[in-house]
């Protein structure tokens, strides 16, 4: 089977774009979330083959082939998402899309059409050279691909001011599971509906091959202000006020003292404050100056203080580097949830209870992704070399997700590990709807099967939330042996 698969795919794309070598395939068995090898008890995470198409046509032919032969296809960008979206659960074809590198600027319409494999940072840099910018990008922009972010969260830097990524997508080119290439435009109502579903579909409905995005002229000025707050309540109250100003900040993030201490522990100079927040404004110089004055006033009112500008500049440059603290681990585990802003203090308190209970080296980082929504990311250090102890620390990620759910929010994506929360988050009716859509768009269930909707083990038995919980707790108990 595998030999035939190899030869067939080589026939389609040529030998240099296919690998069936074990030393290669085994590097495609994970994403950024550290997993214990025990995972191989339930999943077959090493793909049978990896293919790297370099054109839309090649991608379409591969899908057609997989469709006819009913072989699972796992789309993959840079594999920087942490919920298992790119991890095979029972072999199959990993379809790595990083070579789809089209880039074409349409100055007249202020749009750019980009291949799914372009990295967000290279797009932003390219646009900046031409005097333009794209409003939003993930903080993993250095490696995350256009396709990967469209297929997942779509919230990140700039979302506070400019909204969700989907508000800036004008059209998508997708390939459906049978290999059909479709050009979808937001101008067309029925196509626009499909675009809406594809965004955030985690590779389960089709492959995104190209996106046309609305761009704008680079802002005249960008300024970042570092502020120290005494507690999360004062931070929240200032955020609540600045986000209702006519011009919202471009970006707001905060780190607590514990997180700053974890940075210090690895030699990164950080201010000694209870909470370090960064407010970034952009726009016309006069507007930005006005905004900063307003911020200054509000900060003083809650007895916060503005820190020297070098802290702000450094934090802004470091916005791509929030995993630095892993150096002290050497493993880093993290929760990632979104929740309403007015629950921030509550969520922080509950997270700290968990931290205390398990005696974790944990710090909190959060960013504002909408006027009233926080993306909350508590991160804690572990050491995967200490096998059972490490495994016992894994279920804490779920505890954090539950805090988010209780606060009226939820996990930021599903993949494998959060698939159990899907119904709870989107509601029963929506669940029925998207399951029907999945069936319609992917009748052979080859598009990233075993993700988001229903997870299957390598034995073909569904993995339910409680069995998974049991599995992890049993592994966790082994630390006592």
């Amino acid at each position: 089977m595998t030999d035939k698969l190899f030869l067939d795919l080589v026939n389609i794309v040529g030998e240099s774009k296919v690998s069936d070598k074990l030393y290669e395939r085994m590097l495609y068995d994970h994403d950024i979330a550290p997993l214990p090898p025990e995972i191989s008890l339930i999943f077959n995470t090493i793909p049978d083959i990896v293919v790297k198409p370099s054109s839309v046509e090649e991608t379409s032919k591969i899908l057609k082939y997989a469709y006819e032969n009913k072989i699972p296809v796992i789309p993959r960008g840079a594999s920087t998402w942490g919920f298992g979206g790119t991890i095979p659960t029972n072999g199959g074809i990993v379809l790595e899309l990083t070579e789809l590198k089209k880039l074409s600027l349409d100055v007249e319409n202020q749009t750019v059409t980009v291949g799914a494999g372009i990295r967000w940072k290279s797009l932003i840099d390219y646009l900046e050279n031409c005097g333009y910018t794209f409003n939003v990008y993930p903080s993993s922009a250095i490696s995350a691909t256009i396709g990967g972010w469209i297929a997942t969260g779509g919230l990140g830097i700039g979302s506070l001011k400019h909204g969700h990524l989907k508000e800036h997508v004008i059209g998508l080119q997708i390939i459906t599971s049978n290999g059909e290439i479709k050009n979808l435009s937001n101008d067309n109502q029925s196509e626009s509906k499909i675009i809406d579903e594809i965004i955030g579909s985690e590779g389960t409905l089709g492959i995104i091959t190209e996106a046309t995005l609305q761009i704008i002229a680079s802002p005249e000025k960008t300024i970042s202000i570092a502020v120290s707050f005494n507690d999360f309540n004062s931070l929240t109250s200032v955020i609540e006020k600045v986000v209702v100003e006519p011009v919202k900040p471009y970006f707001i993030e905060a780190q607590d003292k514990d997180y700053l201490d974890l940075k210090k522990a690895i030699g990164i100079e950080s201010p000694d404050v209870p909470i370090l927040a960064l407010f970034v404004y952009n726009g016309s110089t006069s507007q930005v100056e006005k905004d900063v004055k307003t911020l200054n006033k509000l900060v003083l009112e809650v007895k916060g203080s503005i820190l020297p500008s070098e802290f702000a500049e450094k934090e802004w440059i470091e916005r791509f580097y929030y995993m630095r603290i892993r150096k002290g681990g050497p493993t880093l585990l993290a929760g990632e949830i979104t929740h309403p802003l007015n629950k921030l203090e509550e969520v922080v308190n509950e997270t700290r209870i968990i931290k205390k209970k398990h005696n974790l080296r944990m710090g909190i980082k959060c960013i504002m992704v909408a006027e009233d929504t926080v993306m909350f990311m508590p991160m804690y250090l572990a050491d995967e070399r200490k096998r059972w102890k490490f495994v016992s620390l894994l279920p804490i990620v779920n505890d954090i997700t539950n805090i988010g759910l209780n606060a009226g929010g939820g996990p930021y994506g599903f993949g494998i590990w959060n698939s159990f929360f899907l119904g709870k988050v989107i509601g029963d009716q929506k669940l029925v709807e998207i399951k029907a859509l999945k069936k319609k768009m992917d009748p052979n269930n080859i598009m990233n099967p075993s993700k988001k909707y229903k997870v299957m083990t390598k034995f073909g038995i569904p993995l339910w939330g409680f069995t998974f919980k049991l599995f992890t707790s049993v592994l966790g108990l082994l630390k006592y042996f």
């Binding site: 030393y23 290669e24 950024i32 250095i142 995993m323 630095r324 892993r326 050491d383």
Partner: protein, 390 residues
């Protein structure tokens, strides 16, 4: 065989701190040409980690020829370290892994030839050691100084002394030293390779021997300053040799670009600025790995009013492909990397690109020759000597 040497040298925690974020991919010169995980830094780190994780349900990854080949598909340019979330000491990991492949006899054959050459003739090219000074004849350098005692030893380096295209670098440097009236000397055949290629081929012990010999020769001559125009020799002397031998050097190690820069700022060399459009390609071992970034730029800015930068420069320079012994291992790969860099150089519209490294000089000149582009590539010493009318 497992890559256990990484653990023995205390690099295991570094290895495990890899976040797999992939920031090291698009900036990696190798990954840009071979876009597979196994050719990217994060893929290599993940592979090494797997090879160290043994036991129940653990992988049975063993060092084999396929992976060993990947370890040598690397220019050792160090950019993966700079862009890394967790600032992993990747360079040390790459060198360590290579050291173990040499033990396991999995090193590419062409590199073993270099090692043999170095053992036999103390240069990587297998040239007769007696011909080390032949460049002085070819270039017409009169009275090359061969003194018993001197303040400055000009450590020419094998790639400059033996490679025709680079010999003018040595000539130019010598002319400038004479012009400055320095008390300087060449070491002639007493100069042995600095040992950098041996480290790159994973042969530390053999590198030590060369270093010890050179040290002896320098001591004999009472040298206060070791001057070199080769970033590999420079880094070897400044960083690696003291580490390898566990000593502090009792002379200063100076790169020619630092030396020229000093002389210019002291006003001892003066040049009237021209309007040549000129640019500078940073050698990775000089800029990123040794921190010499401003000096060459200041030299060039003082000689031309139209100095321009290449995209990705300074600490973020994109390697030209000339490092890590890639030429011996996979020349085709080296040339495709060089072409990519040349395209960036051409985007500046400069008529002259300078560098400060004999390997960059060879590689870029070769790429220019192949592409038939109308652009000149010179070492900064050659450029300066030309301006001074030598």
């Amino acid at each position: 065989m497992k890559l256990t040497e990484v653990r023995k040298r205390g690099l295991e925690k570094e290895l495990y701190s890899c976040a797999q974020c992939g920031y090291c991919q698009d900036i990696c010169p190798i990954y840009c040409e071979i876009p597979w995980e196994s050719a990217s830094p994060r893929g290599k780190l993940y592979w090494i980690k797997k090879s160290l994780t043994t036991g129940f349900l653990r992988s049975n990854v063993e060092l084999d020829e396929d992976f060993s080949k990947r370890l040598y598909q690397c220019t050792l340019c160090g950019r993966c370290h700079v862009v890394c979330q967790t600032m992993i000491d990747t360079i040390s990991i790459w060198y360590t892994a290579r050291a173990q492949t040499s033990d396991a006899k999995l090193r590419p054959k062409t590199l073993s030839q270099i090692v043999t050459n170095l053992e036999k003739s103390q240069n990587p090219y297998g040239m007769d050691p007696d011909t080390r000074l032949d460049w002085t004849d070819y270039t017409g350098l009169d009275d090359p100084p061969l003194k018993e005692k001197a303040e400055i030893a000009y450590f020419v380096g094998c790639t400059t002394a033996f490679k025709g295209i680079n010999q003018n670098i040595a000539f130019s440097t010598s002319k400038i030293l004479n012009h400055m009236g320095e008390d300087w000397t060449l070491l002639s055949k007493d100069e042995w390779c600095c040992g950098s290629p041996l480290l790159m081929a994973g042969e530390e012990e053999k590198a030590k021997k060369l270093a010890e010999h050179n040290l002896e020769e320098l001591k004999k001559r009472g040298v206060k300053i070791l001057l070199t125009g080769c970033p590999s020799c420079y880094r070897m002397w400044k960083i690696e040799i003291p580490k390898l031998l566990g000593i502090n050097l009792d002379f200063k190690v100076v790169h020619t670009s630092e030396y020229f820069h000093n002389k210019l700022s002291e006003g001892k060399i003066t040049i009237t600025p021209s309007d040549d459009i000129i640019t500078y390609h940073d050698p990775c071992e000089l800029s990123r790995l040794s921190g010499i970034i401003d000096e060459p730029r200041e030299i060039l800015k003082s000689t031309s009013e139209k100095y321009v930068e290449i995209p990705e420069h300074g600490i973020d320079v994109r390697c030209c492909g000339g490092g890590g012994l890639l030429q011996a291992n996979d020349n085709e790969l080296r040339m495709s990397i060089a072409k990519r860099r040349l395209d960036q150089i051409k985007s500046t519209n400069a008529k002259t690109v300078t560098s400060a490294c004999p390997s960059c000089n060879i590689t870029l000149n070769e790429a220019i020759r192949e592409s038939k582009d109308n652009i000149k590539c010179l070492d900064i010493a050659e450029y300066l000597a030309e301006k001074l009318g030598f």
